[in-house]
Symmetry: C2
Subunit: 333 residues, 2 copies
């Protein structure tokens, strides 16, 4: 279906949940952006749970968060249980403004809802001509290296910057796959590769269903684990949020969200690096590859195609969205 049709339905669903238009537009853009880039796990399927969270009082559709500049370059944000992208974008707007004079500005955010795909923000800041390093924590889904159970988040990092001829953006979790992908394999009854996950007893498994109650591996073994743990410690220490298995509210619909986000905006003249990216793209590909990959490009290609040709939304998600957009009370009129 055309992206505009999905967009309209999301707007109606958010309006019905009491989200004012500006805030709804950000939440919609974030979810649609993920959907268009082929990251369905961060797309529209998140909306029903978000609406439930608003209904349950653990997501506030109105607030943009409380800002406190604890130093000229450091912004502490109490998200006041606001919508993730609303609180995040308000913080980033403040950082963009501050970094223009300071050169750099950092925001640590606690108490906001799931902020979705970090690349969304990295893309926007890069388009605005600045450099962004973004981090976020999540509920404990990943096992420490040498451990048996989920103790740390999937803790993604994204980096965006203008290249002089467009932008570069990368966005990756520190887990080897997302829990969404594990669920996807379980739903389709297909096995997962050994090394992706442990089962509920902490033993390696190829059974996706068993992995759902277990733990995902960090990407790249001890190195990815070290990164994910460092991000979790740093974000928790700076934001004063929860840590490890105490982090809640990114996957359920009833608990206050206690993860942390961290944004670093740098506003400085940047030497152009587009020629190097182009050189990489032109490299002779290795056996089994049709071209050398550039991070972020597949997502941008998919988004371009989605805007031209429309998107496929899972039937179950679409039908849930229609229910949300036309609540019983209105239908009964």
């Amino acid at each position: 279906m055309p992206v505009s049709r999905a967009s309209e339905l999301v707007d109606r669903a958010l309006a019905a949940a009491g989200v004012p238009p500006d805030n709804a537009a950000l939440q919609r853009d974030l979810l649609l952006d993920a959907e268009m880039r082929g990251i369905a796990s961060h797309g529209l399927l998140r909306l029903p749970r978000l609406v439930e969270r608003i209904g349950n009082g653990v997501a506030d559709p109105l607030t943009r968060g409380q800002h406190e500049w604890t130093a000229p370059g450091f912004l502490k944000v109490d998200g006041e249980q606001g919508l993730g992208p609303v609180v995040a974008q308000a913080a980033i707007d403040a950082l963009l403004d501050r970094a223009a004079t300071q050169g750099v500005a950092v925001a640590a955010i606690a108490n906001s809802n799931h902020i979705g795909m970090l690349g969304f923000y990295a893309d926007r800041v890069a388009e605005a001509g600045r450099c962004l390093i973004a981090f976020s924590t999540s509920e404990a889904l990943v096992h420490p290296w040498g451990g048996r159970r989920a103790m740390i988040g999937t803790n993604p990092i994204a980096i965006g910057l203008p290249t002089g001829d467009g932008i570069f953006m990368m966005d990756t979790a520190t887990s080897i796959v997302s829990m969404g992908e594990i669920h996807d394999h379980a739903d389709r009854g297909t096995p997962i590769p050994l090394g992706w996950a442990l089962d509920g007893d902490g033993n390696p498994t190829t059974d996706a269903a068993a992995a759902r109650s277990g733990a995902i591996a960090p990407f790249g073994g001890p190195k990815g684990y070290a990164l994910g743990l460092a991000f979790e410690l740093m974000l928790t220490a700076l934001a004063g949020s929860s840590i490890g298995r105490e982090v809640k509210g990114t996957l359920d619909s009833t608990k206050r969200c206690t993860k942390a986000d961290l944004f670093i905006v740098i506003d400085q003249p940047l030497a152009p690096v587009a020629a190097f990216v182009e050189m990489l793209r032109q490299e002779t590909p290795a056996e089994g590859f049709d071209h050398v990959r550039i991070p972020g490009e597949r997502g941008r290609d998919l988004r371009r195609r989605a805007l031209a040709d429309g998107i496929n939304i899972a039937d179950v998600t679409w039908s849930r969205l229609q229910d949300l957009a036309a609540p019983a009370s209105i239908i009964e009129d």
Copy 2:
């Protein structure tokens, strides 16, 4: 041998090369720290090449770099071909001072020599009660994902922060192994695991000797590649340094060093996270592990042992150091 004996020899070698005592002490501490932590590739074996670089006029033993604050929070450093740790520590000292009032301060460094193990700096900043995120680029040794030849650096990242009861420090390259480890396998005639490297024709190899003229893999496949590339683009753009195969001077003794370094110091109240690190340490280990790993701890244990029991230095390195500490002109007296 006792660390003090190695330390003394390094001091004499650096003095003979014309390095003033303060600068020599930093360079010595950096190399000895790596040696004690078991990272021989970043240890004393680097010293002979550094002395050659000083002799060849591509390493200046005197300068601490030129500082320009382009904004209250952003320091641009022209390393003036100074010694890596001397230029780096001068920049970090300036950042620590600035971050005390600004909350955050960033330095981008071009034109300095190899800064060694990033964890050295992360450790020191964490011990000083602040948070450091450190990056560096290197000569092109790593192939892009889906590529055939070395195009990007091993581009490490380190993060250090106080935990409320000690410090946390992690330091990892974005390559799957170091080129030092490849050389080590080649020297011992042992094969390398498939997936570590490509040969000079861009094909996967288990022959360490063939890998020396090839390319190392990024760690964790496309994710580690995305990180390493993002770091290289961001550092190059901010420091105005060289990129990709144009980066020189970290492995040879004749070319000006054209890599970049980036330091972010955050000075803010930090919530304590030591209890969580301790909880991880106490987790039930997985099959094949005797305990859950905490990044940085093995290096700290080795250093403690080295300080108590001394270090083993390869004969060839020790004999080179003795030559450097007692130059021919002095022996002939």
